[in-house]
């Protein structure tokens, strides 16, 4: 039985090898690098996008195997520093400490902007509130506003939902919304903010709880949640997140998404990153609810 399994494993490996060879043969003219595995890990925001890219890329380049995992931006960058992945996905820029850690380890992270993302502020569809200013959202999350009545809603307590502190989305939201982008502002999330370990956790609570307010990448918003239109300041128009409003810079809560490599990438990693910026790959970005980079 055991021997049988080893044999079939060998057969499988042989098949893989043959497939890889034929892949290179048919496109020998393009002088493609030999096949291999690209380890790709990091932000949970990007993981679906990275998976879709990997699937699509593997149909064009069957000799390259892409292993995509999530875990959070910090996890991805930590793995890159430890040298266990080839590409780290991050929904925030690399921190100064992390860059220093990498340099101490003898590697230099190189940054690529691969797509843009709008953070949608979401509530239960039963909640009549449609629009908020950035200041109001900041006051809600810092605990100054505690009842929906205070922002034009019903008499209900506000339950604040956030991603865990290891999420790039959490850090971005803290800096750009709770602290309104002000470096001197040291406001924190109010203590009673629920820190949920996944986007699914936030989605599940938003769907069933009319008291809840949450935030997440636009790609994770489904039809059974209500997206809030946000104004930069009280006099300005309230804008809903969309590809157009993000690209034009009107929607105030949008960010770049990154991939990091150890040093300037070479070979198949470089080819892959180049492919990601082609219109074909950026179309997948749009399909998944993110905002493509327009070159």
């Amino acid at each position: 039985m055991r021997k049988h399994r080893i044999l079939s494993l060998q057969a499988f490996l042989l098949l893989l090898f043959l497939a890889a060879c034929s892949g290179t043969d048919s496109q020998a003219g393009d002088s493609l690098p030999p096949g291999g595995t690209i380890e790709n890990k990091g932000s949970d925001t990007i993981v679906n996008l990275a998976l879709a890219w990997a699937e699509s890329y593997q149909t064009i380049h069957p000799e390259v195997r892409l292993a995509v995992t999530g875990g959070g931006s910090g996890t991805g960058i930590a793995s890159l520093i430890n040298g266990t992945v080839d590409i780290a996905n991050a929904s925030r820029q690399i921190k100064e400490e992390e860059r220093q850690d990498a340099l101490d380890n003898g590697t230099e992270p190189v940054e690529f902007v691969i797509a843009r993302d709008a953070i949608a502020v979401i509530i239960n569809p039963e909640n009549p509130v449609d629009q908020l200013t950035l200041q109001q959202i900041s006051d809600i999350y810092s605990g100054k506003l505690t009842n929906w009545q205070e922002v034009g809603g019903e008499d209900r307590p506000i339950v604040k939902l956030s991603r865990e502190t290891n999420s790039g989305t959490h850090v971005y939201f803290l800096e750009e919304v709770v602290r309104l982008g002000d470096k001197e502002n040291h406001t924190l999330f109010s203590r009673d903010t629920l820190l949920l370990p996944s986007s699914e956790g936030i989605g599940a609570e938003i769907r069933q709880n009319p008291n809840a307010i949450g935030y997440d990448g636009l790609g994770y918003v489904t039809d059974d949640m209500k997206v809030i239109a946000i104004a930069r300041s009280p006099g300005e128009p309230y804008i809903l997140p969309s590809a157009e409003s993000v690209n034009s810079g009107q929607y105030p809560v949008a960010r770049d998404l990154y991939m990091y490599t150890n040093g300037t990438p070479e070979g198949m990693v470089a080819d892959y990153l180049e492919w990601i910026l082609t219109p074909e790959a950026q179309e997948i970005v749009t399909e998944l609810g993110f905002v493509p980079i327009l070159r």
Partner: protein, 302 residues
């Protein structure tokens, strides 16, 4: 021939004895090494964070707030809540299985309880998010159903099979003659259970409770999914209705992200030590009580 055989047997005996000894001592060695490892990894935290800051009331590690009190409070509250649920239900079920249920029902129920004990905690967590928490929110008119109560109920459910299984074995071990004697004296079935069988099995039942508590305090996945993870210090049992953050969930949620060797990393190990010490205290208390009971029993019987 026979001489060499005895020699062979003696050698076998020696090696088997040695192996068993190694196996026995290795458990002690592993616990010791784990404790040492935790101690070494957490010690720098004491130098980097002042004791006052460590025992303050704010946990927000990415801005260097390392107050562990909310986490300890959260773990204790949920464990107490789970114990309040698991002990009556667990012992009740054990009594029913061992003393009251007819044989055929017992044959069905006991495996079912064991299946409940084998449920992966992440599955219970899903159940909690999708069924329990919305239901509890409406039932108690709470702001959110992701609360300590939801966690305590699910943890109670996780601890019940442990309590049932151990307590039932203890009740089973009480000699038939005790019950017969009690019934012969004219005691009712309930009086026999309450006054004779349960006290006779007291040490085993106590072990069951302690194992249940140990199971509840160390559980991670379910509590991380259903308790909301807000680091607020609970002020009493009524805070069961609001969200809490436990030590286990904090370690699980943050360990993957933390930079190796940073203050945050050391503090997470410090929380690990606290958890280790708490479960050690629970276990030592349990065995101390059981030991005293045994001695008393020996005295009475002798």
């Amino acid at each position: 021939m026979s001489r060499s055989k005895t020699n062979q047997q003696a050698v076998n005996e020696f090696f088997i004895n040695l192996l068993i000894k190694i196996a026995g001592y290795s458990a002690i060695l592993f616990v010791g090494m784990i404790f040492l490892f935790l101690l070494l990894e957490s010690a720098p935290a004491l130098g980097e964070v002042q004791l006052g800051a460590l025992f303050s009331d704010r946990w927000y590690p990415i801005e260097d707030y390392f107050g562990v009190l909310p986490l300890i409070g959260g773990s204790l509250l949920i464990t107490i809540g789970a114990t309040l649920i698991a002990v009556p239900f667990g012992i009740g079920t054990a009594v029913f299985l061992s003393e009251i249920a007819p044989r055929w029902l017992r044959e069905i129920l006991k495996p079912l309880v064991e299946v409940l004990g084998g449920l992966p905690s992440v599955v219970l967590g899903f159940l909690g998010i999708l069924v329990f928490s919305p239901y509890l929110r409406v039932l108690f008119n709470l702001p959110t159903g992701l609360s300590a109560l939801t966690g305590a109920i699910l943890l109670g459910g996780i601890a019940i099979p442990t309590v049932v299984s151990v307590a039932e074995d203890a009740l089973d071990a009480v000699p038939r003659s005790y019950r017969d004697a009690s019934l012969a004296m004219g005691a009712t079935e309930w009086q026999t259970i309450w006054r004779v069988t349960l006290p006779a099995a007291r040490s085993g039942v106590l072990t069951a409770v302690m194992l249940g508590i140990g199971r509840a305090i160390g559980e991670t996945m379910t509590v991380m999914m259903v308790t909301g993870n807000a680091p607020i210090i609970p002020r009493g049992l009524r805070d069961l209705l609001s969200p809490v953050r436990t030590m286990t969930a904090t370690i699980a949620a943050e360990m993957g992200e933390v930079a190796n060797g940073s203050t945050h990393y050391h503090v997470l190990f410090m929380i690990g030590i606290l958890l280790f010490l708490i479960s050690l205290v629970v276990n030592v208390t349990a065995s101390a009580v059981v030991f005293r009971q045994k001695r008393r029993q020996d005295r009475i019987l002798s």
